[in-house]
Amino acid sequence: MRYVLRKFAQTVFVVVLVTLLTSVALRFLPGGTDVLVALKTGPGATKEQAQKVITDLGLDKPWYTQYFSWMKHFVTGDWGATLQSNTSIASAVKRALPISAYLMVYGQLLALFTAVPVAVWSAYRHNSRFDRIATTSAFGMLSLPNYIVAPVLMYFVSVQRKWIPYPSIYTSLFDDPVAHFKAFVLPSITIALPLFAGYMRLLRADMIATLQSEFITTARAKGVSTRNILFRHALRPSMFSLVTATAVNVGALMGGVVIVEQFFLLNGMGRLTVESIFSREYPSVQYAVVVLALIYVAVNFVADMAYAWIDPRVRARRAIG
């Protein structure tokens, strides 16, 4: 319990720091507040207009007041409008978030469902031909950035074979499942490839260590079947690093796959943020980035808690100190 509380306090601290940094970031723009005023009102703003922009963004108040009022807006969902086109920031984020979430979930599922069996078999038949092929190709995949995988996939699947039409527009899963998956197949594979490699290597290394423990030998001696040993006895204590990596990647995938989103024309969080950065929509950047960071922090917290479920020894250790 003390551990949970300490972890929680740490999480809250990071959240406060993240929101604080992003909320006051507008003050440190190169060019100062004039940039914001110029973006909002166009050239030749009157003094009143300029003043209104500054009060709307809370830049005339001291930073701590600004932080609290910004937090109030953030929590109540009153995120205001973009500077240039005057559209709602909240609705833009609401549109982008599910696309990113779908992409993240499909990529992770694809990677996990392939990596776990491959890693388990590799660890079991350690140094076999299968293992060597698997580890070598995983090593190669780690050197494949997604902007290399995406064009290769697109060329072979969409251009040469024409299996999936290239710009597959995003449609909701509930409106048209077929079109939905058509839009997500290639980007998910692109994302899953390096994930698969990472997960496979992590799990394989841990699994090899686990398979040498005495309780595995005991299970073997009792006559437990191989499948049961691998998936019921050995897998759970080997999942430690895998859970950490999966959790870290949730955050990274939500906003960090800008290039995949851009290449396959999916308007997810990454693209929203980058385009806001490019068009200097700083308030949109603030909200999008805070949402992403919060997701990251929350998922990591959950993963920390999940350790106790995976490994009772952790629970015991935490109870002691």
Binding site: V14, V18, P30, G31, P151, M154
Partner: protein, 352 residues
């Protein structure tokens, strides 16, 4: 997160060398580890071959990118033209040679041009530039940027990590939380943000687009994981006997840090530096893909891949896939060398 290293390492080492022998001697029951003594030798040999392949690729790419203007095997874009004048009149003159597939590309199926004449090792791009030459020039950009970034990142990250890990206390808390905050933003977004921040139109950098905004962004990006790595290592070494001995002899903090602890974490740092270099090359490519790296006429892999994406849709695959291939080989080679070093020094990546 900070899992004890010992167990896994010990398990691995046992299994690599001893287990098979031990089993051969006494146990008829083969446990869950495969017997693979003859296979192991083969693996080793192949490992050595790939190591030398990786080294020679890196030598090739480094030499070629340094001497790209004068080396004989690189096509200097004027060789392909009837006259020097035709070559120097900018991009439009090269249209004649635009989008030729590589000489070896027998299976090319560009639909729009029938059977175009082939050209060079890697074909030409939309402007008629030789892609092989441009890929090597792109290697120069990538290696310079990533190399500078990892050097500065290592210097700063090592310093911060050692300070945090050795002195602990409030310094440690501050540094750890700062790295946590930096790590809680998606890395690529952070880099994009910093580059645009430094290149903001209202500052002088925007008009000239120098190298340093990219380098600085990548340095900022590489500091947190390096700091974490060094911190963990420093903590481990700070409790070792020789450090305690040095301290009890009255050595000052700086002496202990730089003379006692630093030499011990250098091997770990070296193998991680190569992995970091590969990651930064990838990151630079990502920035270039989004048009955020160096200014347009200077070739970079990322932008070559990005500009090739349009022709790729019409079937001219080589324009983006050839630089992608060069980049893949380079990143792979660096990763392999990093792996070799890590095995050599028996370190494990603390941070994946």
């Amino acid at each position: 997160m900070d899992r004890p290293e010992g167990s896994r390492e010990k398990g691995d080492r046992l299994n690599m060398s001893d287990i098979d022998v031990m089993l051969d001697d006494n146990a008829p029951v083969v446990p869950l580890i495969d017997e693979a003594a003859p296979a192991k030798v083969r693996v080793r040999k192949r490992g050595r071959v790939t190591k030398w392949l990786a080294i020679s690729w890196m030598v090739f790419i480094t030499v070629s990118s340094i001497g790209a203007e004068s080396l004989p095997y690189i096509n200097h874009s004027c060789d392909q033209f009837a006259s020097i004048g035709e070559c120097t009149t900018a991009t439009h003159a090269n249209i004649r040679l635009a989008e030729r597939p590589p000489a070896w590309a027998g299976f090319s199926d560009s639909p729009q041009k029938g059977e175009p004449a082939r050209f060079g090792l890697m074909g030409t791009d939309k402007n008629g530039f030789d892609l092989f030459a441009r890929s090597l020039l792109g290697a120069r950009t990538s290696l310079i940027i990533a190399g500078l970034a990892i050097t500065f990142g290592l210097a700063i990250g090592t310093l911060l990590g050692m300070i945090a890990g050795y002195f602990r206390g409030w310094v440690d808390v501050v540094i750890e939380n700062l790295t946590n905050v930096l790590l809680s933003f998606p890395a690529l977004l952070l880099a994009i943000f910093f580059v645009t921040f430094f290149n903001d139109p209202s500052t002088a950098a925007a008009t000239t687009r120098p190298l340093w905004p990219v380098v600085v962004s990548l340095v900022i990006l590489s500091i947190p994981p390096l700091t974490r790595l060094v911190r963990a290592n420093t903590i481990a070494y700070a409790q070792r006997d020789f450090v305690v001995a040095a301290r009890s002899l009255g050595a000052k903090g700086s002496r202990v840090l730089f003379r006692e602890i630093l030499p011990n974490i250098v091997p770990t740092l070296l193998s991680f530096a190569l992995t970091g270099l590969a990651l930064l090359i990838v990151a630079e490519g990502a920035l270039a893909f989004l048009g955020l790296s160096v200014e347009a006429p200077v070739p970079t892999w990322g932008r070559m891949i990005a500009t090739g994406a349009g022709p790729l849709r019409e079937g001219s695959w080589w324009i983006s896939l050839m630089p992608a291939f060069m980049m893949f080989l380079t990143v792979l080679a660096i990763n392999l060398l990093g792996d070799v070093l890590a095995q050599r020094f028996n370190t494990r990546e603390a941070i994946s």
